[in-house]
Amino acid sequence: MATMKTLSLVSGSGFKGLRRRLGIDLSTKTLPAINSVPVRYARFKSSPLVSSDPSKYTGFEISRNPEEWKFVQDLLPEPVIKTPSVKPQYTSGWKPQNPPADAPYFIQRTANHMLPVYRVQGGPDKMTIRTKVRYVQGDIWALDEELRAVVSRAYPKEIFKTQVNEIAGLIIFRGDYASVIKEYLLSKGW
């Protein structure tokens, strides 16, 4: 299939200036290679079709085979994130949420079914490390006290501060304790 549209220099009457620039009068000679100037559109995909003649294009057959359509459906992503199915074992370390019944607070999993515990680097030189626990519902102060005890047990010599935002359901630790907190929360079933 040709992709270039050609303008004939000889037949058209509006290219006198161009003909003069070429120097030779080509109207009497048969030089098809020189007599055409290719026109390049700015973008191949947006350029008009080469010909309005349908015989220039390929014919096609239509297939509605459901076996072939299965392969098309496998290429389309899931519209929503599904709840993970129950499996006999999870070797990646991930566990489905199974919270204790008597807890005064609730920690909601993220949309990706992960624990909402994050290690955040901030400050002018990105060297101030904070640990954030998000989506806490209920008695956030009870969780704060519990996590403070866990962190001080793991790091007895370290002095750290926490900040509780009750409205946002957010606890911020000054320091890098994400792995300790994640491990503890997973062990408790959150």
Binding site: T58, G59, F60, L76, S85, Q89, S92
Partner: protein, 293 residues
């Protein structure tokens, strides 16, 4: 009787979104831009400071350091960066991350996994415009990898291949050229565009040796040689190779693409119509020959 102006306005207001901080504009004339002052003292320096190149806009040429030996001439040429902007890149995905995606049902191990499935999970970032040529499967979390899958990646090392085959799975390393990668990394967008599925081009000269190597499970390698190397790798790493011939999922585990094919089960040259749920196949023999070879 003609509708009054305020009635029209109230009717309009009923259909409009509720007025809040995000859709009100500032009061006209409240934001005044300061004008450049003129006159004896109102004009003054116009924010350009007192004297110097900033007041006169005669800046020094770039790289000039007022008499110092300039930085760009101070250090010799560093050839190890030569052509770094042209090198192929493979953003990493670890076996631990892959296992996590399987555990949380973001990837279905019951079907062949390729770049489309990994990108559709939404947990892997890749941009073919930044010379990203696909997934590099890394060995982090190899000890905890237990899934039995048929996976196709673009780059893998020997321990990764061993970790996949130890569980009875199969792995293939396959090359895709950038136009194919655009289709693979966002398959839905590509199918919606209504363009024919492109054919896969052969790898560049410096990648041919990798993708024809049976040790790397290249897609252009001899299949008999690959099955021999599967056994050799099992003996090297000390595990008994599960017999995939006797596996109930044998068909799935040995399902492969043609070297010219980019999507499983769909041939290059076909056009998919998502709205009418049909596939258009060209019949022109010249076009068919182009997509074949």
């Amino acid at each position: 009787m003609a509708v009054r102006g305020y009635e029209k306005a109230l009717g309009l207001l009923r259909t409009l979104p509720r007025v809040c901080l995000y859709n009100i504009a500032p009061i006209p004339g409240s934001n005044k831009r300061s004008k450049r002052g003129r006159g004896q003292h109102g004009g003054d320096k116009h924010g350009a400071g007192n004297k110097g190149s900033k007041a006169r806009q005669n800046y020094m040429r770039i790289g000039y350091e007022t008499g110092n030996w300039p930085y760009y001439l101070k250090f010799p040429f560093e050839p190890y960066y030569l052509g770094h902007h042209l090198k192929r890149q493979y953003p990493p995905l670890s076996l631990g991350q892959l296992q996590l995606m399987i555990d949380t049902d973001r990837i279905n191990p019951k079907k062949p996994v390729d770049l489309v499935q990994i990108c559709n999970s939404g947990l892997y970032k890749i941009n073919p415009q930044c010379k990203h040529y696909g997934v590099h499967l890394t060995d982090e979390g190899a000890d905890n990898f237990t899934a039995k899958i048929n996976i196709e990646v673009q780059w893998a090392s020997e321990p990764v291949i061993a970790a996949v085959e130890r569980n009875g799975g199969t792995i293939t390393t396959a090359f895709f050229d950038p136009p194919s990668l655009f289709a693979l990394t966002n398959a839905k967008k590509f199918l919606e565009s209504g363009e024919p599925i492109p054919k896969r081009m052969i790898p560049p000269e410096d990648a041919i040796s990798y993708y024809t190597d049976p040790k790397m499970r290249g897609y252009l390698a001899d299949p008999d040689q690959i099955s021999w190397d599967r056994l050799v790798l099992a003996q090297k790493y000390g595990y008994t190779l599960p017999k995939i011939e006797e596996d109930p999922d044998y068909e799935m585990l040995t399902f492969r693409k043609d070297p010219r094919q980019i999507f499983y089960g769909l041939e290059p040259g076909w056009v998919v119509n998502l709205i009418d749920r049909m596939i258009l196949k060209p019949t022109d023999p010249e076009l068919k020959e182009y997509y074949k070879g």
